[in-house]
Amino acid sequence: MAETSIPIKSSKVADRSYTFDSLKNWVGVLPFFLFILIFLILPSTNLFIGAFQDQGGHFTLANVGIVLSDPFVYDAYVTSLKISVITSIAGGLFGFFVAYAITIGNAPRWMRGILMSFSGLAANFGGVPLAFAFIATLGCTGFISVFLNQICFSSPAGIRTCPFDIYKAGFNLYSLAGLTLCYLYFQFPLMVLTIAPALEGLKREWREASENLGGSSVQYWWNVALPILWPSILGSSILLFASAFGAYATAQALTGGFINLVTILIGDEIRGDVLNNPNEGYALALGMIVVMAVCVAAYTILQRRTVRWIKS
């Protein structure tokens, strides 16, 4: 999402970089750096240091070890990773096809406009209201549940059967499956927004060249389009993964905190230290930052590879 910086016209002021002057130049950004230092870096560093301290303030690796071996924490990480991977793959695929439909797939023009602007809207529509919307739609007495429930058949023997009772069929909105459906509501639009520019960057000539050489549609996608697109696709999927992994509000509002995600567990820890000591909570939070940092590193690398193709 971050564009590469544009070159700045070198100014006489900036060129005259005597040591004193260049030091003076940094004074202008000092308030910003001070603000960031106090309210972003300091809190993060405190978590980081706390993760490696015991309650007396001595250095230890025990917190990390305990967190890694605690089955409850382990389960939270597995659940969080599971839902992030599932929603980023499912949302990624769905989003890719929708983006395909509205860019090079020639879907009707009015549909394109609606889908594109709704993607911008839905990608920003998360948190508590999203959970409410899905409870109203797929909850026990929700719109779809009731609608499907009313489809009943009377057999000749006079027994009424209602085959579409999704809750009797084992579906439960307040579970991992339900949360997945919720997350998809902002995941696939996010994919549409991030992958559409890459799809538009596919040149018509490449397709024509492939067809002239006798390539089929499958061959074109497999041998030409996908190799060009894969850094974008992977990069966007990482973005989806990260947005699901860090999400808290939707899960909290939907399940009331009864689903064991890392974010929910950290929330419980803030409310009232559910782990043995506060430093384990820091280690728990540190784990999240590590996962996110890996995501960002991968995203940055892939982003560089993407820019090369799309600009050419």
Binding site: A107, N124, V128, T263
Partner: protein, 264 residues
């Protein structure tokens, strides 16, 4: 024949996408009208809008939103401006810092914030006023990616150097240059940033919940726990508000919104 097949395939996905958008939206709308048994009514909306607690929390979050917008502009505008005219070499660092809130999950950030400032010397969680200061700082950080980017994009579209020199030659001081010359010239970019920041603060749950302030997010969670129909009404109103904010941005920005909205 081949192209026709492709169209159907695209059409299928476009229709599926529209269904995923609209079915929950319609379901929520339908559900929100059923509070009074047997008839469709806007009772749920009336109940929500006349709840004094709703009004109080909305007022609190809206006030916080406005304060956050103003404080963000005061912090980020001089910084971005300074980077443009004096310190281009600081740009990569500041750009990375500006997206840090996307990388650090909000809940982790709040955790660090509470564990850092709930103890001496500052003890910022002890009184409501002090907590309000802390929560404002939190909102500024959480919405920084949007505001920083909006200001950066705005600054890119104007000729900062010439404007500065013109203002200087007319005898302006730095404050006048920033707030009487630069800011008015990029008001559209700042305004769209302000709208996103405002919407973010209104919908924010984590800070309000864990710093225990009467914000809109925690109020909605509470209502969601106890009531059935009001949450649906609130979800739809939140949807409407987001829609209005984004609509205003795209009117101001002439369709350049998508690049600012990709991160969440």
């Amino acid at each position: 024949m081949k192209t026709k097949n492709m169209n159907l395939w695209a059409l299928l996905w476009a229709i599926l996408g529209m269904l995923y958008f609209f079915v929950p939206l319609y379901g929520t709308f339908d559900f929100s009208l059923r509070m009074k048994k047997g008839v469709l009514s806007f009772l749920a909306y009336q109940v929500v809008l006349s709840d004094p607690q709703f009004l109080a929390s909305f007022r609190y979050s809206a006030t916080m939103g406005i304060i956050t917008v103003i404080a963000s502009v005061i912090i980020f505008l001089p910084t971005v401006y300074w980077i443009y005219i004096r310190l281009p070499q600081a740009r990569p660092v500041v750009e990375i810092i500006s997206i840090l809130p996307f990388i650090i999950p909000a809940i982790v950030f709040v955790f660090g914030l509470i564990r850092t400032f709930d103890r001496p010397p500052l003890e910022l969680t002890m009184t409501p006023t002090k907590t309000d200061i802390l929560i404002t700082m939190g909102y500024i950080i959480l919405s920084m990616p949007y505001m920083y980017r909006a200001i950066d994009v705005g600054m890119r579209s104007i000729d900062v150097r010439n404007l500065t020199e013109a203002a200087q030659s007319l005898g302006s001081n730095w404050f006048q240059i920033l707030f009487n010359v630069i800011l008015p010239n990029m008001r559209i970019a700042v305004l769209s940033g302000a709208l996103i920041v405002f919407a973010t603060v209104l919908g924010e749950l984590v800070l309000g919940e864990f710093l225990v302030r009467p914000a809109l997010g925690p109020y909605m969670v509470d209502v969601g726990r106890d009531e059935a129909y009001q949450p649906a009404a609130m979800a739809l109103m939140a949807w409407g508000l987001t829609w209005v904010c984004l609509g205003l941005i795209s009117i101001f920005g002439r369709g350049n919104t998508s690049e600012q909205l990709t991160g969440r």
